[in-house]
């Protein structure tokens, strides 16, 4: 191809280029694809991707999405919360069939042209180039939306799917979002979430990934957090062939705060990567991050957390903790906590541990009458305790709790 954008592409990249060329695209999309062509699908030679090699996993992948249109979708496990339910089925957006609740606006909108840190991100660039429409949700100023908003990402096909969501929590508004990644397929799904939490707003997001083992997933949430706003996120994943949940949060104004917690339970050959980058761009901001991962068989738990504190961001208070439990010989944990601090009056700390179940505690519980399986289950549940107590919604917490129990029972 004389006008090829990609030099020496893998079959997956060549396929993507072929699809891209059939499209009518915007200048921003053209530029985004050019950037992808330069950056290429991330591989393990890149520092931030050495444990999650998307190029290796996808190089022979066919980009053709042969997804049968999934017309029947089972009801959500969060249905009892009566959520406002959005679906993105193989990249296709489905809005709730009901009247738009007061205090909200939503619809299918044009995709984003840019997001935070897009310039350096190959998969985000590819997503910008390939996504045709986006889901847009806005919570208007001062609105308190008690009813949870649910976005279900359901993938059934074997090819690529791209999707985008945009959410804006207006000043002094309050909302709660649950996002689920579902489906048992061998496809690749890329989701880009652009989020703005305006002055004085409170936003709580829970992410639950429970897909089949063959799914490849990249989900990127880029959040701008404004003055005195609070962004709270808990992610839970049972991993898949290759799954990476990235969170980029920038504090744009003083006195804002974020809690970013995550938990992974990995068995078989499942892989999960929680990568976060929190940038403190203004003073008096507070971040708390806690990650817990449990892996058995040949499961792999990846955690990469980075706090950046700019020179102006004095009095930043940021703490990061990552703990992993490995239950089998072949299980792996790769943690990389990082601090990059340019301000001199801050309190920042990180800690990371990887270990096995405490044999003393195990014997103690068994001496009291618990069989080995129950004793292990009790200790693993206890290990997740801090993350679980951060989940505010009782139904969501019980549901995740049940998933942890089920995971342990199938061991």
């Amino acid at each position: 191809m004389s006008n090829a954008l990609l030099y020496n592409p893998t079959s997956m990249e060549a396929g993507l280029e072929a699809v891209f060329k059939t499209r009518t695209v915007t200048d921003a999309q053209q530029a985004a694809f050019a950037r992808f062509a330069k950056l290429r699908m991330p591989n393990r030679r890149l520092e931030g991707w050495k444990w999650s090699d998307f190029n290796g996993a996808l190089r022979d992948f066919s980009p053709i999405n042969d997804a049968p249109a999934a017309d029947t979708v089972a009801s959500s496990e969060f249905a009892s919360l009566n959520p406002l339910e959005f679906r993105i089925v193989d990249g296709r957006i489905e809005l709730p069939v009901e009247e738009i609740p007061e205090g909200m606006r939503y619809g299918v909108i044009e995709p984003v042209a840019t997001i935070l840190e897009l310039e350096s991100h190959a998969i985000a660039s590819l997503n910008v180039a390939m996504t045709r429409k986006a889901l847009g949700i806005e919570v208007v100023e001062g609105a308190v939306i008690e009813r949870p908003i649910l976005i279900r990402h359901i993938n059934t096909g074997a090819g690529f799917s791209f999707a985008q969501s945009m959410m804006r929590i207006s000043p002094n508004a309050k909302a709660q979002l649950i996002e689920t990644y579902e489906g048992n397929c061998a496809g690749f799904y890329s989701h880009l979430f652009h989020m703005v939490v305006r002055d004085g707003a409170e936003f709580n997001r829970t992410v639950v990934q429970e897909t089949g083992p063959d799914n490849t997933l990249h989900a990127l949430c880029a959040a701008k957090v404004n003055e005195t706003a609070h962004f709270e996120q808990t992610s839970f994943s049972t991993g898949s062939r290759l799954a990476r949940h990235e969170t980029i949060a920038h504090f744009w104004s003083p006195s804002s705060s974020a809690t970013i917690n995550s938990a992974a339970l990995l068995c078989g050959e499942r892989h999960n990567d929680f990568t976060t980058h929190v940038v403190h761009k203004e003073r008096d901001c507070e971040t708390r991050q806690l990650h817990k991962g449990v892996a058995r068989d040949r499961g792999r738990n990846v955690f990469q957390g980075k706090f950046e504190v700019e020179r102006i961001a004095q009095k930043t208070d940021a703490k990061m903790t990552a703990n992993a439990l490995l239950l089998s010989e072949g299980a792996q944990a790769n943690h990389k906590p990082e601090l990059e601090i340019y301000a001199d009056d801050v309190e920042c700390a990180h800690g990371s541990t990887v270990g096995s179940l405490d044999e003393d505690a195990l014997f103690y519980l068994r001496q009291r009458g618990l069989d080995e399986k129950s004793a292990r289950a009790m200790l693993i549940e206890a290990f997740f305790g801090d993350v679980m107590s951060g989940v505010k919604n009782d139904v969501v917490r019980d549901c995740i709790h049940q998933k942890i129990k089920t995971w342990m029972e199938t061991s």
């Binding site: 044999e359 014997f363 519980l365 001496q367 009291r368 618990l370 129950s374 004793a375 200790l379 206890a382």
Partner: protein, 248 residues
């Protein structure tokens, strides 16, 4: 009752228990005293079934059954309780949930009905008060932030809840003040009965002021080197263990 016959135990390749024989008939309280390193904790771990504490020879019979081949939880369900010398802090484990789960697991293994939540709550509160732990303490994560004395009180609370047929108390008195020692004595004396036995492991005589043993044994060099009545403890307090260390 507990009957240990010619027990040999090696830990990490070193033989610690070297042919120990001991019989505690039901309804009796026996004390084992001995110097540091004589094998007291090894004995309690072996009887309770801890990994790495395997008998190479001999038998341990609890109420007529050889328990050496049983898992620790099976031994617990048979009515064996070990009060730990160094009780664990287990962050994230809620105390009441743990005790209730363990109690019901034991009951289930014995084919008994589970204790209802309401009955459990009433019982655990009452017994917690008895051992000097207030409601706030039993609502916390297991032993987290507890002092050494409070951890021992938690051991006594569990012993009172589980009502074991045989309890081994491994240096329950270490680190306790006089009031706590009295409490331990009260718990044991309340539970004491014709169907229940106790093996009280201690360095010092003072706990035995509150729990009067039927027999006292001296453990030195991995064997019982002397047995006698309660007066033996007083004698040891005066003369020390040196004679036994030399003899062993």
């Amino acid at each position: 009752m507990l009957k240990i016959d010619n027990l040999h135990v090696a830990v990490g390749g070193n033989e610690i228990i070297k042919g120990l024989t001991l019989k505690v008939p039901k309804g009796e309280v026996h004390a084992i005293m001995g110097p540091n390193g004589s094998g007291k904790s090894t004995l309690s771990y072996t009887v309770a079934g801890r990994d790495g504490y395997d008998a190479s020879e001999g038998s341990v019979m609890l109420n007529g059954e050889n328990i050496l081949e049983m898992d620790p939880d099976e031994r617990a369900a048979k009515g064996l309780f070990l009060s730990f010398q160094h009780p664990m802090e287990i962050p994230g484990v809620q105390t009441m949930n743990f005790i209730r789960t363990a109690l019901n697991a034991q009951r289930k293994a014995r084919g008994e009905d589970e204790m209802s939540a309401a009955e459990f709550l009433k019982t655990v509160r009452e017994k917690a008060r008895h051992v000097g732990l207030d409601d706030a303490k039993i609502k916390r994560q297991f032993n987290v932030g507890f002092s050494g004395g409070e951890k021992k009180r938690m051991e006594m609370l569990q012993m009172a809840m589980f009502e074991p047929r045989f309890a081994i108390m491994d240096e329950t008195d270490s680190g306790l003040d006089i009031d706590a020692l009295k409490m331990v004595g009260e718990v044991v004396n309340t539970l004491r009965g014709p169907e229940r036995g106790f093996l009280v492991i201690t360095h010092y005589q003072r706990l035995l002021d509150y729990i009067r043993p039927d027999k006292v044994h001296v453990l030195a060099g991995g064997q019982i080197v002397k047995s006698g009545g309660p007066d033996l403890a007083l004698e040891l307090e005066k003369s020390g263990y040196e004679q036994f260390i030399k003899a062993a």
